[in-house]
């Protein structure tokens, strides 16, 4: 029973990383209408930058998280302006942006390889809250609890931002149609910049935390998050961050339990089949609203 509970918590923490990454990925997809293949690299780079902040500059972990998050956001901004803005102003649609995002994926992945000298690095265990806490008979990692809490805070925060604030209204409006939003006086470009930053920063946060939690800071970090984060977004419904959060957590827990009680070899098959079933049978996901396709 204790093993069961511990594993459930492990799955929850793991799934929280998927969800946190997925929220950023989903924001870009729902608001900017871009299937961004480069999104995973934001997480890799955030973790790499965070690592060097700790390792080279000797600054404490929270600073590393902050700098990593900012790096993820700024990178997303830069990619948006270089790769997507020129196409956006020509109304080239989603396809062109997909290709330029693939280009940036290749570039940033390869540069990340150079930045880490092709190694998989790890935050020194002493630099972040890596210890264990006893909750009754259960052992829980401090960082796991932090990750779980971070996801909850971010989900609530971003949900409120999008649904309840004026800026969020503008983000949804721009996501639907930039011209329609601009007719109300919304500076669509500014909103796009903010959205890109927010998306990059959220996924960057997932990257730094995942880098610490899995002792793996490398250019491969983002790709793993990307595949599972993508699944979380689809299962949860891409226009609702709450759906992404819950779907991510569920995927994490399912993954752990399938590996423990069924078979590791079938684990990913299980995840992706679930993904496919949702796509075909309930394409708007757990929480997605009935469809207005982006105009």
């Amino acid at each position: 029973m204790i093993l069961f509970l511990e594993q459930a918590l492990n799955g929850w923490a793991l799934g929280s990383l998927y969800a946190l990454f997925g929220i950023g990925f989903g924001l870009v997809f729902s608001t900017l209408g871009i299937l961004n293949a480069a999104h995973g690299t934001y997480a890799s780079w955030a973790a790499i930058v965070g690592y060097y902040v700790v390792e080279r500059a000797g600054l404490p972990f929270p600073v590393a998280v902050g700098v990593g998050v900012a790096a993820g956001g700024l990178l997303a901004l830069a990619v948006d302006q270089i790769a997507f803005q020129p196409l956006r102003s020509r109304k080239a649609g989603m396809l062109g942006a997909l290709i330029t995002s693939i280009a940036f994926w290749i570039i940033l992945d390869s540069l990340a390889g150079f930045a880490t000298e092709q190694q998989s690095l790890a935050f020194p265990a002493a630099s972040f809250p890596s210890g264990m806490i006893d909750i009754g008979p259960m052992k829980v990692g401090q960082l796991q609890l932090i990750i779980i809490a971070v996801l909850i805070v971010c989900t609530i925060g971003i949900h409120l931002l999008i649904q309840k604030t004026r800026l969020g209204t503008a983000m949804r409006a721009v996501g639907w149609n930039e011209v329609a939003a601009a007719l109300g006086g919304v500076n669509a470009r500014m909103v796009i910049l903010l959205t890109a930053f927010l998306a990059g920063a959220t996924s960057g946060l997932a990257g730094v935390l995942a880098g610490a939690a899995t002792s793996n800071v490398s250019f491969t970090l983002g790709e793993g998050l990307m595949l599972k984060g993508f699944a979380a977004v689809v299962v949860g419904g891409y226009d609702d961050v709450r759906g992404t959060a819950i779907a991510g957590i569920l995927l994490g827990i399912i993954e752990v339990f399938v590996a423990q009680y069924v078979s590791t070899a079938l684990r990913d098959g299980f995840t992706y089949s679930l993904l496919l079933i949702f796509l075909v049978a309930r394409p708007r996901g757990l929480f997605g609203s009935a469809g207005f396709v982006r105009a």
Binding site: R166, R172, A173, W176, A180, L183, G184, V186
Partner: protein, 231 residues
């Protein structure tokens, strides 16, 4: 108020507008008439900042707005209601209206209520998603959104397009009411009969150029206008 001079614009590979001059007086309701493909919409979209003209100047009061991006034109005081409405479908009626606060031109909290007074239907549907409303309701919303920016100049492109006659009446009643309140309005309209019955001044476009202009009673007398649009 709005002063357009020597405006030229392309539509695709075609020069759709050739050297158009328009002058809209403050407080007037002016109308731009013309057959399909005469260049009215391109003219209007150029004025509103939705379309980049090839040359010419567009001045709102004394400010040149022809080079401004769409949202800055709105912020400068020219609000546009495009053909096809373009309301934000996934947002509610109220969110669509509140969006216009981004124009920075109006922060009176009761501005929304004034729009609801003008269009009581919108008040009933304030929590409804805009995309789920009828064409007429969306048209009202699009006008409401424009009014929420407290524009000096309100520009409407074919507001009667695709609407049932009863709704067309409602929309035009609202336009007349706004005009009475002193709102400056520029209108493109297919339905020349209605347009000429409410406007102060009009132009007729043909193949990208203004061919006739004048007060509605003059235009109604003009044989060319009579033949082409009022038969």
């Amino acid at each position: 108020m709005l002063n357009v001079s020597r405006l030229s614009a392309d539509y695709g590979a075609i020069r759709a507008v050739r050297g158009v001059d328009l002058k809209v007086e403050a407080g007037s309701l002016s109308v731009l008439l013309g057959a399909n493909g005469a260049g009215k919409s391109t003219t209007l979209r150029s004025i509103a900042g939705l379309h980049r003209p090839v040359q010419g100047s567009i001045r709102l009061d004394d400010r040149e707005i022809s080079k401004l991006p769409l949202h800055k034109v709105v912020r400068a005081g020219l609000a546009f209601v495009p053909e096809g409405r373009m309301v934000v479908a996934p947002l509610t009626v109220e969110e669509n209206l509140e969006l216009s606060r981004f124009s920075g031109r109006a922060d009176e909290p009761d501005l929304v209520d004034r729009v609801y007074q003008l269009f009581p239907r919108l008040a009933e549907r304030r929590r409804q998603k805009a995309g789920l409303m009828s064409g007429g309701e969306q048209q009202m919303l699009a006008i409401g959104r424009a009014l929420m920016t407290k524009p000096q100049m309100l520009v409407l492109d074919e507001p009667s397009m695709g609407l049932a006659p009863a709704i067309v009446d409602l929309v035009f009643e609202a336009i007349v009411a706004l005009h009475k309140q002193g709102q400056s309005i520029l209108l493109v309209e297919q339905n020349a009969a209605i347009a000429l019955s409410i406007c102060d001044y009009g132009w007729v476009m043909k193949r990208g150029q203004i061919v006739v202009e004048g007060r509605p009673d003059e235009l109604k007398q003009n044989p060319e206008v009579l033949e082409a649009y009022l038969s």
